[in-house]
């Protein structure tokens, strides 16, 4: 493994009505080639903001992003461009992330021509290869529009598109959470195979610990709560022997412990909070119980 991208004590704060909200709090993370890091947390934990910082869509308030050995703030125009292409994002909603006016082939050919400067015949051939790589027969799919595809097919196209510019780092933000369980597996499998073949570094963001443990098998999982990484360990260790109380709570919920087992655990206290749309119901404060 060689280091491709590193977050060095990164913090991101937002201003919200004269109040400062810390979305990401002192997070350090290293992404190396052929390495998968799964980032697990609930909504509002800051995991998507970490994804946006890694892809360069958001700059951190404090701390450094180091890409290919160079601090992001010291990257020149060419360096920034390289980073933009080198780190690609696959988003949650395949219905929103593809241009509805372009056929599948057009969507793939555009970046190949613009960024790789391929002539149009070569770009079309490469686009078809990529479609075949994600398991879509070019003859059937190249001329289709997004609305003619199922959710799983669209997400495969989105994966193919992210690979057109030959990235070295891939950020997948809830990439399968909108797909049916039966389709999820094949998309995840395809994605993992492609990442291995291309020796990519992957940041796999999900709220679902079970999916993370499957996709991040033999790699690692980082658990986020309130903007911090509370535990980051090899996948099998984290699942079989969680150290942090929050990880344990997430695992218990994922296993549906406490339902039907005649659990006497008290229901968590529900808090009312003021008009604050960016936050959901806070998780019961587990630290105190420790």
């Amino acid at each position: 493994m060689s280091e491709l991208l590193r977050l060095d004590r990164v913090t991101k704060t937002y201003r919200q009505r004269r109040r400062e909200v810390t979305a990401v709090d002192d997070v350090s993370l290293t992404l190396g080639s052929e390495q998968i890091v799964c980032l697990v947390g609930e909504s509002g934990s800051g995991k998507s903001t970490v994804g946006r910082i890694v892809t360069g869509l958001t700059d951190p308030t404090r701390g450094d992003v180091v890409y290919d050995g160079v601090r992001a703030r010291e990257l020149g125009r060419r360096g920034l461009r390289k980073r933009r292409l080198g780190v690609q994002l696959i988003q949650q909603d395949p219905y929103a992330s593809l241009n509805p006016g372009l056929t599948v082939q057009e969507a793939l050919v555009a970046p190949l021509r613009r960024h790789l400067r391929l002539p149009s015949a070569a770009a079309r051939a490469r686009a078809n290869d990529l479609l075949a790589d994600v398991g879509l027969t070019p003859d059937t799919f190249a001329r289709k529009y997004p609305h003619e595809l199922s959710g799983g097919q669209r997400q495969r196209v989105a994966i193919a598109r992210s690979l057109t510019v030959e990235p070295r780092v891939l950020v997948a933000d809830e990439a399968v959470s909108m797909l049916d369980v039966s389709i999820r597996v094949s998309v995840l499998q395809k994605l993992r195979g492609l990442c291995e073949d291309r020796q990519l570094a992957v940041l796999f963001i999900t709220h679902d610990l079970a999916v993370a443990s499957q996709f991040g098998r033999d790699h690692s999982i980082a658990v986020m709560q309130h903007g911090r990484i509370v535990e980051h360990r090899p996948t099998h260790e984290l699942v079989s022997d969680p150290q942090h109380a929050y990880t344990r709570a997430l695992l218990a919920a994922a296993r549906h412990e406490g339902l039907r087992s005649g659990s006497t655990a008290e229901p968590p206290v529900v808090h009312l909070h003021r008009t604050d749309r960016s936050r959901r119901e806070p998780a019961p404060d587990i630290k105190k119980k420790e």
């Binding site: 609930e42 909504s43 959710g151 049916d180 369980v181 039966s182 389709i183 999820r184 597996v185 094949s186 995840l188 499998q189 395809k190 993992r192 709220h207 679902d208 610990l209 079970a210 999916v211 443990s213 499957q214 996709f215 098998r217 996948t235 099998h236 699942v239 709570a249 997430l250 695992l251 218990a252 919920a253 994922a254 296993r255 549906h256 406490g258 339902l259 039907r260 659990s263 229901p267 968590p268 529900v270 808090h271 009312l272 909070h273 003021r274 008009t275 749309r277 936050r279 959901r280 119901e281 998780a283 019961p284």
Partner: protein, 316 residues
């Protein structure tokens, strides 16, 4: 099964959407629910589970047509067939005997009305006196683990997603219906909140004996919540059985595949083969018209049931 215990009896329900193309969304679906019981309808998007629920509630859109079958709610005063009732009659019956917590109900509360108003309006529409309504609402809000006096005067936007979901559940319970249809009751909620809402539902059931028809794509959740599971593929029920045995020993290839596709935290966490879940097209082509067969006897069987029934598949 004692027929006296039945609260909802759906028989051979068939629903079709007519538009540019005619689509058969539900074909000969039969489900029976007893008092205090939870039955889960599982299936993926497009399997017809929400259409079935809407048909039972008499809430189908105009493009949908019930071609056959019925859905009966068994009340203290006699059975009521919900299908084919005029909208006005339905409105009277709906919240009183069978209530609905729709998918995404955390966004279904009226943003310009306080929570109190939601309860008052529902009570008024069904002739429940205001003071009685408030007493009941407070009781229910406490039952779903909310601080009733504080919630009462709040607007929906002041509440978190999990709290709004609990309000929607309390609202569904206001007229003490026998059955609540829960459509994906925890999607859009955080993992820990999901678990708390599910536990709330179980507590409420233990206290009141209400029955749930739960619609979900989450087999693990169905296993934790439901007494019985019905697997739907392309509008048809392909497997019926009590949850424990369906999960331990799924008999239809689709249920088996779904179970294999579920990421597990504990077993061997290798990814299952891509072909784990047979495609819906493959199943329909293989002939889903086979009879429902009792697993114990191997003979053709009729739901509703207590045993295990699976739709026979044509040999591959």
């Amino acid at each position: 099964m004692s027929p006296d215990d039945l609260v909802l009896d759906v028989r051979d329900l068939t629903v079709e959407y007519r538009g540019e193309r005619t689509v058969r969304a539900v074909t000969e679906l039969s489900v029976a629910i007893r008092r205090g019981e939870t039955v889960a309808l599982i299936g993926e998007s497009g399997s017809g589970k929400t259409t079935a629920a809407l048909a039972i509630l008499g809430m189908l859109p105009d493009s949908a047509h019930v071609l056959g079958g019925g859905a009966t709610v068994l009340t203290g005063t006699g059975p009521i067939d919900l299908i084919g009732l005029a909208p006005r009659e339905l409105r009277v019956l709906r919240w009183r005997h069978i209530a609905y917590v729709p998918q995404g109900s955390i966004n279904a509360l009226n943003p310009v009305q306080r929570i109190s108003r939601h309860f008052q309006q529902t009570a008024h529409a069904h002739g429940l006196a205001a003071d009685e309504a408030q007493a009941r609402a407070f009781e229910l809000l406490e039952a779903v683990h909310l601080d009733a006096p504080r919630i009462w005067g709040s607007y929906p936007h002041e509440l978190s997603g999990g709290t709004r979901q609990r309000v929607a559940i309390a609202l569904a319970m206001l007229l003490r219906p026998a059955v609540i249809v829960l459509d994906e009751p925890t999607t859009a909620l955080d993992v820990l909140t999901q678990e708390a809402v599910l536990r709330t539902l179980l507590d409420l059931q233990a206290q009141t004996g209400v029955s749930y028809l739960m619609i979900t794509h989450d087999l693990a959740m169905a296993g934790a919540m439901a007494d019985r599971i019905v697997t739907m593929v392309a509008g048809r029920a392909v497997e019926y059985g009590d949850s424990a045995s369906v999960l331990a020993d799924p008999r239809h290839s689709y249920t088996r595949g779904l179970l294999a596709a579920m990421p597990s935290l504990d077993g061997d966490d290798a990814m299952p083969p891509t072909s784990a879940v047979p495609s819906v097209a493959a199943i329909t082509e293989a002939g889903m018209a086979g009879p429902l067969v009792d697993i114990a006897t191997g003979r053709a069987a009729e739901p509703p049931l207590t045993g295990r029934i699976v739709r026979e598949e044509a040999p591959a």
